[in-house]
């Protein structure tokens, strides 16, 4: 049929062009999986830039040391909650089939919480570096803890690789539009002027985010302690003030998200005025949106005295198929070369090849010359500001899990009612009775959180947990509805 070949050409030629384009453009420098002598299996939530840089750098370093090529095979099921499920599933099956390992060598990236959970199950093996390079630890180049946070646990089965903390990113244009000052601490985010303008990270889906909320609450307890109250009273009052602040921030929130990049992106695009995000995301957006005059419309700030500096760890799984290689990988991570990758400028001698990673190395000795001037974020000096906040696990450590459930019932599940009440309260200028109703957190006081909430959660009885969730949720939703009604009723 004569006309047909034209039709076929008209379809297949464009298709061939489209398919060929990426093949022509592709960057072939990375050692492929098939070509390498050795292979390292690493499971990670780290973003693509980090994976690529560390994969390439370790390959080069290892080849220089040993002459053998290695391919770092990154397994990425998603974020930390997906990784937890993958590991749980794999270890359960392995145990049922009498195997020690799960075919993975290294776990890299996530929060201390995620690693503690795995460590508690005995899934890691000891890291050689503690013995073979004991001087790094004895001299304090890698500290045991900082601002109250462990940088490695007493049994040394995971170790922090780089530093991280949560902070506030904000959009200067949006603040100008609303006539507001830049926020400096968590309390500022509770200002009613931020109504519908805060992008919040979800503490129920990320241990690191939950930790940031715990810091926020603990900061209030510290303030109460400083004012001279007894420990018991300081905890009760500080906890209550912390809950109320979380309510204010939650009421201002547009959403609670588990997407790490969504918060700074939405703030940068003006869909949110300010938000809670990880340090390196905030700094990167600030840098990438800088104009010629040096002004960037998105700024990042670490809340003064309101955050500890935690770590992003690494560990080796028990039964790792490439144990020696895994130990070498960990060794590489703590070389000056491996550490400077996190914050040196791309293209510089110790820097990444393609992109700046904008994270802070854990080695203290790099915060001096000649290394400091090679760092992009040299001015942050985390070790100098770390002691402004000392995390005290005895104050709120046991409240960590209950806090997640509390935030769920108080803010997330009840968000609709909460926002409606907040709007009514703002319009009526916070009348007394309505406000008291809104801020009533009596069922979830400091002791109740331990005695009622935590105990129920630890019982493992999901039906009781659900019933408690329902009951608490009902309390808050009813209060929010009542507060809205009272505020609209014109009570002054």
């Amino acid at each position: 049929m004569r006309g047909n070949w034209k039709k076929y050409l008209g379809v297949f030629v464009p298709m061939a062009v489209v398919i060929a384009a990426p093949m022509i453009l592709r960057d072939d420098e990375t050692v492929g999986a098939g070509a390498a002598d050795l292979r390292l299996e690493v499971i990670t939530p780290h973003n693509e830039a980090i994976r690529r840089e560390f994969g390439d750098s370790f390959s080069k370093w290892y080849e220089k040391q040993t002459g053998k090529s290695v391919y770092v095979n990154w397994r990425q099921p998603g974020g930390t909650s997906e990784i937890k499920r993958v590991l749980d599933s794999a270890f359960t099956t392995a145990e049922a089939n009498g195997r020690e390992g799960i075919g993975l060598d290294v776990f890299m990236g996530g929060g201390v919480y995620d690693f503690s959970l795995q460590a508690r199950e005995g899934r890691f093996q000891p890291l050689d570096i503690f013995e073979k390079q004991a001087e790094l630890f004895e001299s304090g180049v890698i500290p045991t803890k900082q601002s109250g946070e462990n940088y490695y646990p007493p049994d040394k089965d995971w170790l922090g690789v780089c530093l991280s903390s949560f902070g506030i990113c904000y959009n200067l244009d949006s603040l100008d539009r609303l006539g507001m000052e830049a926020p400096t601490g968590w309390s500022d985010l509770g200002d009613p002027s931020y109504q519908k303008g805060i992008a919040l990270a979800d503490p129920t889906k990320s241990g690191s985010v939950a930790k940031a909320f715990e810091m926020l609450v603990q900061q209030h307890i510290h303030q109460e302690l400083k004012s001279g109250k007894s420990r018991e009273k300081a905890c009760e009052d500080g906890w209550r003030r912390g809950m109320n602040l979380i309510q204010r921030i939650g009421a201002n929130a547009r959403y609670f998200t588990d997407g790490a990049s969504k918060v700074p992106h939405d703030v940068a695009q003006g869909d949110a005025v300010a938000g809670m995000c990880i340090d390196f995301y905030g700094r990167t957006y600030n840098e990438s949106l800088k104009k010629a005059d040096g002004r960037s419309r998105i700024e990042f700030v670490s809340p003064v005295g309101g955050t500890s500096i935690s770590v992003d760890p690494v560990a080796i799984f028990r039964g790792a198929p490439n144990e020696e290689l895994a130990q070498e990988f960990v060794r590489f991570l703590y070389t000056k070369e491996g550490q400077m990758l996190w914050n040196a400028r791309p293209g510089e001698e110790m820097g990444p090849r393609h992109r700046a990673l904008r994270r802070l190395p854990i080695r203290r000795d790099l915060y001096e010359e000649p290394y400091l001037s090679q760092m992009i974020d040299a001015e942050v000096m985390p070790y100098e500001t770390a002691d402004e906040f000392m995390y005290d696990s005895s104050l709120t450590g046991k409240h960590f899990s209950p806090l997640r459930l509390i935030i769920r019932v108080m803010c997330i599940d009840s968000h609709q009612e909460m926002k409606a009440a907040w709007e009514a309260l703002i319009e009526a200028d916070f009348p007394k009775e309505a406000s008291e109703r809104f801020f009533d957190v009596s069922p979830i006081g400091y002791q109740d959180a331990l005695e009622k909430v935590r105990v129920t959660m630890k019982s493992g009885d999901n039906v009781s947990v659900m019933r408690m969730t329902n009951e608490l949720g009902r309390h808050f939703r009813e209060n929010y509805r009542a507060a809205e009604k009272l505020a609209k009723g014109g009570e002054r």
Binding site: Y8, M15, R26, E48, A49, K84, A94, S206, G270
Partner: protein, 564 residues
């Protein structure tokens, strides 16, 4: 159809379904009904109904499903009807272009919408530019939109499913029926209601069932609007919760039951073909060319639908070429650098190869299985074929993550699906099967509708003239089904290429990533991640666009679906 043959096919299909759908889904769903050490229980389900937040979520999801289906039909039916009846300027191109929602990639699609409708987005910038709104008080379209915003977005995304199925049904109607009515003096509206509409109910049902279940369980669009008081978002929230919560699974079970009930009820009312078994004469074309004004109105309508439904795509395309698109109608600076960086990234070429492989494999499996299943449902008389019909639809109603985690658990070393995973961890077969299971409903629905409208007398004539069943299938049935199979196959292929949950969870190593996971990885790049992901997204849109148009152009003669 030979009963024995029907039973064999049913058995094979049930085996396939049992192993690759029911088993992994049940494994995950077990959490909703089983307490460790205590046995089976319905208490979790009971507690869901006692939780007003979950109950409201279920109602909202149901309402979204109904409203979205209605809204999609309001767009799709007139489009299909006008396309069936009239000739108008640019009809050929517009008929292909209105399928554009099918090619919207995940993740960046949402970003594209937000670039247009965000507080500092293009629409607000446009309104400020026209002086309609004040720059100091931008409209929060996505923040205020909520329920109806989700309905409109759903409708604009899903109407092609209804459109294709209704168009296929219309193309199978014998024009003589409408002409006879016309000759007997029946006015156009009455003809529409009494003749055309009843004859297209199989197509409406085929598309409507998919659209309802899809919007009932849709996660992405409510998230764009931060509309969280809806069951699918609550399920997603609960599954990702670090606390091992069984209640999202109980919610999923309830949603499955609702989906099944709605499907069965609507099939009883709409699913049966009324009179559509008359032979469709070959080549008889019922299209008329209306007066110039009316013809241009048709063009305008098609173009209007295309324009509005392509706004998210426009957002993605512009973002991919922009240098910081913010608070302006169009970006202040353009660049091609994102394309160079994205397309040259080591992830990309393998991901394209992988997606093509997985999606084509899945579509092939679906076409074979789908025709077989449709045959049993329509042509056989075995008992339980209605159950088979409902069973085949279930994958649409199970949230992606649930099934993905089921496959994940079962593909571990030592578990039953491990044989599907290659020695280097290659999940190709696992993904082909996972995609095939999920896309099967599109092909089955389309094939069923086609078979219901195809005249069985033609097949019987072939058989009585000595043709073997295979020959009958090849020379008579498949050509008759052509339009429907192309419709179903296109939908299956496009959605397989853009599949999210299985791709994210099961493809863990970058050499096995499909395109959706490559897009997801690029988004996480700091700095210009969204722009890079958009560039790859545009690539995917262009590729899919060419595939779909190509399938329509090349397959068009076989079924008269688009009369090209």
């Amino acid at each position: 159809m030979n009963k024995g043959f029907a039973y064999s096919i049913t058995a094979i299909v049930c085996l396939f379904f049992g192993v690759f759908f029911l088993y992994p889904a049940a494994m995950v769903m077990e959490k909703a009904f089983h307490v460790e050490g205590e046995g089976w229980t319905l208490s979790f389900v009971g507690e869901v109904f006692k939780n007003p937040v979950y109950v409201e979520g279920l109602w909202n999801a149901f309402a979204l499903g109904v409203a979205s289906t209605g809204a999609s039909l309001l767009i799709a039916f007139p489009l299909a009807l006008i396309g069936h009846r009239y000739l108008f300027p640019f009809k050929k191109s517009l008929s292909a272009l209105i399928l554009i929602p099918l090619v919207l990639p995940p993740f960046v699609g949402a970003v594209g919408i937000k670039q247009i409708l965000g507080i500092q987005g293009a629409l607000n910038a446009f309104l400020v530019h026209l002086g309609i709104t004040d720059a100091a008080m931008p409209i929060d379209w996505l923040g205020e939109g909520r329920f109806w915003g989700v309905v409109i977005m759903n409708a604009l995304h899903l109407y092609p499913i209804l459109y294709m199925n209704v168009a296929a049904s219309l193309s199978n109607i014998d024009p003589a029926m409408e002409q006879a009515a016309q000759n007997l003096g029946c006015p156009p509206w009455r003809r529409l209601l009494r003749i055309t509409l009843p004859l297209t109910t199989p197509g409406i049902f085929a598309g409507g069932a998919i659209v309802f279940i899809w919007s009932f369980t849709e996660l992405g669009v409510p998230l764009v609007f931060d509309y969280t008081r809806v069951a699918p978002v609550q399920v997603y929230d609960g599954i990702k919760d670090l606390g091992n919560n069984p209640f999202p699974y109980a919610l999923v079970a309830i949603m499955l039951v609702v989906s099944t009930l709605v499907f069965i009820a609507s099939k009883a009312v709409l699913g049966r073909s009324k009179l559509g078994t008359a032979p469709r004469p070959k080549g008889r074309n019922n299209e008329v060319r209306p007066k110039s004004g009316k013809a241009w109105l048709c063009t305008l309508f098609f173009f209007g639908v295309f324009f509005i439904s392509s706004l998210p795509h426009a957002g993605v395309v512009i973002l991919s070429m922009s240098h910081d698109w913010y608070a302006s109608v169009l970006p202040e600076a353009w660049t091609a650098a994102h394309y160079k960086e994205a397309l040259s990234h080591p992830l990309v070429v393998p991901s394209i190869k992988n997606s093509l492989l997985y999606a084509s494999g899945a579509t092939l499996v679906d076409l074979i299985l789908g025709v077989a299943i449709a045959w049993v449902i329509v042509r056989s008389t075995i008992r339980g074929r209605a159950i088979l019909d409902a069973l085949v639809m279930l994958p649409l109603a199970v949230p992606g993550l649930v099934l993905a985690f089921g496959y994940l658990a079962l593909s571990q070393d030592g578990e039953s699906f491990h044989f599907l995973v290659g020695s280097d961890g290659n999940p190709m077969w696992l993904l082909i099967i996972a995609y095939a299971v999920r896309r099967l409903p599109y092909v089955v629905r389309a094939a069923v509708a086609g078979l219901q409208q195809a005249n069985i007398a033609l097949e019987e004539a072939a058989r009585s003239l000595g043709a073997t069943p295979m020959r009958t299938l090849r020379r008579v049935s498949l050509p008759l089904l052509g339009a429907n199979l192309i419709a179903g196959g296109i939908l299956a292929f496009a959605f397989a290429m853009l599949e999210v949950s299985d791709s994210l969870i099961l493809a863990q190593q970058s050499e096995h990533f499909p395109i959706t996971k490559a897009i997801y990885s690029l988004i996480s790049m700091l700095g210009n991640g969204y722009e890079l992901a958009s560039a790859l997204g545009v690539w995917a849109m262009v590729f899919l666009g060419i595939s779909i148009i190509g399938a329509v152009v090349l397959g068009g003669k076989k079924g008269g679906l688009f009369r090209m």
